[in-house]
């Protein structure tokens, strides 16, 4: 039997046994409910806002009141600012004295750099209502004065931080599953029978892949729901952010492979269940440190040197890259470098963990140090 077959068998068992468990079903439902709930919550906390809109004088009569009427359902108000010409209006817009410039002659609504979805909807409704007496019915085209600027919008920030938090939590939860799985196998002694037929590194790989696929499926479901809600405009944010959210999924796969292997090795080295949680904590704390460092660095300056470095450092890349990608965009070469470095680390870690794993799994009694396990561990 080839190694791949053995890995597939182990992974399949992990998947099947865990899909049977109620805990998995419950956590999936819970996460989906969280995403759905955040939409409702977002709706509730949306604040009233007053938009300034420049319009070339003379403004058609009734425009002001039509705008107010259209704005009411959005909990917003619109303040009209007549300007002498389109050029003057652009100046006002550029100077940030208004939020948009309405050019009725061109059927255009011009924003500074980012299209404000709520205001665009209000203006569109108002103009259409106004023109019901003046056929043909027209809709407004939106435009921006400058190319969409690199400065992050609130929505992008939310997606970035929610995405990396989701990632961090998924990594921790599924990593913990790997840890407990390994310790259980060791504690109920079945591991000796398994290892009589399967090489330790294949058992390790199968376990990580099986649990990882499960996590990936769950995360894809949740991120997919969030992305489609974004696309449907439920979050009042540009739909393109959905793409950044989906980036969370492949980075979960990479991040999980990295951290799960570490969790598995920790489980193999632990003597008892209590021991396992304390060894597991070392991995969790490492990940937590990477997460917070990434959070602080990106929040301080998403284009700063530290943020750039953390984007490619394997331990933090999975947690930082999707966030920065949502906030400021990450060049392709940085994506590529991060992926290559993470893959290389996974390869190295699997070799290390495979050896430690083999030795640790059959070791009972006090916790085994990594160094001792490596020294006496066999080449797997």
């Amino acid at each position: 039997m080839s190694g791949r077959q053995a890995i597939a068998l182990v992974a399949r068992r992990e998947l099947r046994e865990r899909l049977r468990s109620r805990a998995f079903l419950l956590s999936t439902v819970l996460m989906l409910a969280l995403v759905g709930g955040s939409v409702a919550l977002g709706r509730m906390v949306e604040t009233e806002r007053t938009y300034g809109v420049a319009v070339v004088a003379p403004a058609p009569s009734g425009l002001g009141s039509a705008l107010q009427r259209a704005a009411a359902p959005f909990d917003a108000r619109v303040r009209l600012r007549p300007v002498a010409s389109a050029a003057a209006g652009r100046e006002e817009l550029a100077a940030k004295r208004v939020d948009a410039l309405l050019l009725l002659r061109d059927d255009r609504l011009v924003f500074r750099s980012n299209v404000e979805a709520r205001l665009a909807a209000i203006a569109d409704t108002a103009v259409r209502a106004l023109r019901r007496h003046l056929p043909p019915t027209a809709e407004l085209a939106t435009a921006t004065l400058e190319p969409p600027d690199a400065e992050a919008t609130d929505a992008a920030t939310a997606v970035a931080y929610a995405g990396s938090l989701l990632l961090f939590m998924s990594l921790a939860v599924y990593g913990q599953w790997v840890l407990t799985g390994v310790v259980e196998e060791k504690n109920n002694r079945v591991v000796e029978l398994v290892l009589s037929a399967v090489r330790p590194r294949h058992l390790l790989a199968g376990k990580v892949i099986g649990i990882g696929l499960l996590g990936l499926g769950q995360l894809a479901l949740v991120a997919g729901l969030a992305a489609s809600l974004l696309a449907a405009g439920a979050f009042d944010a540009p739909a393109s952010l959905g793409g950044n959210l989906v980036l969370v999924v492949p980075w979960f796969a990479l991040g999980f492979a990295l951290y799960a292997v570490a969790y598995a090795a920790a489980g193999a080295l632990a003597g008892t269940q209590q021991d396992a949680s304390s060894v597991g904590q070392q991995v969790t704390y490492t990940m937590l440190a990477a997460y917070f460092l990434g959070y602080v660095a990106v929040a301080a300056d998403a284009e700063g040197t530290l943020a750039h470095v953390l984007t490619v450092v394997p331990l933090s890349a999975p947690l930082v890259l999707p966030a920065r990608s949502a906030l400021v965009g990450v060049p392709l070469w940085e994506h590529a470098l991060a992926v290559v470095l993470v893959l290389a680390s996974i390869h190295a870690l699997v070799r290390l963990a495979g050896r430690v794993y083999a030795r640790g799994l059959l070791h009972t009694g006090p916790r085994l140090g990594v160094r001792a396990a490596w020294r006496t561990g066999q080449k797997t």
Partner: protein
């Protein structure tokens, strides 16, 4: 730490080898080494003249000393899983699992989770997991430990049948009468070294000692045969158990006895496996 040193023994297809030794002698370590669970620093393990590697091990069956199965996994699924890990196809593994469950009297418990079974029944599942894939070599670490007499008989039958099928069977045990009953060969290990290995009968005959049993009627209370090289092992009522050097002539002991009392029974034989064991691992 060195657990094994100079530990050579072999077993052929269709033969059964009892692997004996006091606790801590290195039996489990030797068995684990067969499965690559510990790596010997020196020495070699071979099967059919080739070094034992992962491919060979798939054709071996193992029952570790530390029993263990997945507690929440149904019995039949579990056996199918282990069969497949040994390279069986899904259908064949399923069929073999249900055949073994039937044979071991667990036919009705295929869907039960392992943790729902009694300890004895878990042992049977463990045995099935070792046998499912028709191994060429069967290695069982203390398979008789903790079994009731009925289960002992079943297991002895299974082991004989496995050897008859052509498997090489190795098992460790402290129940030496059982070993003597089932095995053609033994290997006795002490302090990590093999102190004796080979055919049970030949080993017994090769011993430098002989056992003599006497049943006397009317012998003086403290009577002993005055023959050099003969020692008392046990005296109960009129029965004496003696151990003699191999070159002591049993005729002389018998003549001495007849002079002292009426001899009801007299026997002279090589030591039993148990006596041989104690002789060899004498501490």
């Amino acid at each position: 730490m060195q657990a094994l040193d100079d530990c050579s023994f072999s077993v052929a297809r269709g033969r059964t080898l009892g692997f004996l030794g006091p606790n801590g002698a290195g039996k489990t370590t030797a068995m684990r080494a067969i499965f690559g669970l510990v790596e010997p620093e020196a020495g070699e393990l071979s099967w059919d003249g080739r070094p034992i590697g992962p491919e060979e091990r798939l054709r071996f069956g193992y029952m570790p000393e530390e029993r263990g199965l997945y507690p929440r996994m149904p019995v039949a699924d579990q056996l199918e899983y282990f069969g497949r890990l040994h390279g069986m196809r899904a259908g064949a593994a399923r069929a073999a699992a249900s055949a073994w469950l039937e044979r071991l009297g667990l036919g009705g418990r295929a869907r039960a989770r392992v943790e729902e079974l009694s300890h004895g029944n878990q042992q049977r599942v463990q045995l099935a997991a070792a046998l499912l894939h028709e191994p060429e070599l069967l290695v069982l670490d203390e398979p008789f430990a903790g079994l009731d007499p009925i289960a002992v008989r079943t297991l002895a039958e299974v082991l004989r049948a496995e050897a008859a099928r052509g498997a090489a069977v190795v098992f460790s045990s402290h129940q030496l009468d059982l070993v003597e009953d089932i095995c053609e060969e033994v290997a006795i290990v002490d302090h990590g070294r093999i102190v004796a290995t080979g055919d049970v009968g030949a080993l017994r005959r090769r011993s430098r000692r002989r056992r003599i049993e006497l049943e006397l009627d009317g012998a003086p209370a403290a009577w002993l045969p005055g023959v050099p090289g003969v020692e008392l092992v046990e005296r109960r009522d009129g029965d004496l158990r003696l151990v003699a050097d191999r070159d002591v002539d049993p005729e002389r002991v018998l003549q001495e006895a007849e002079r002292a009392a009426r001899v009801v029974a007299f026997s002279y034989a090589p030591p039993s496996l148990a006596e041989l064991f104690l002789e060899l691992v004498d501490r």
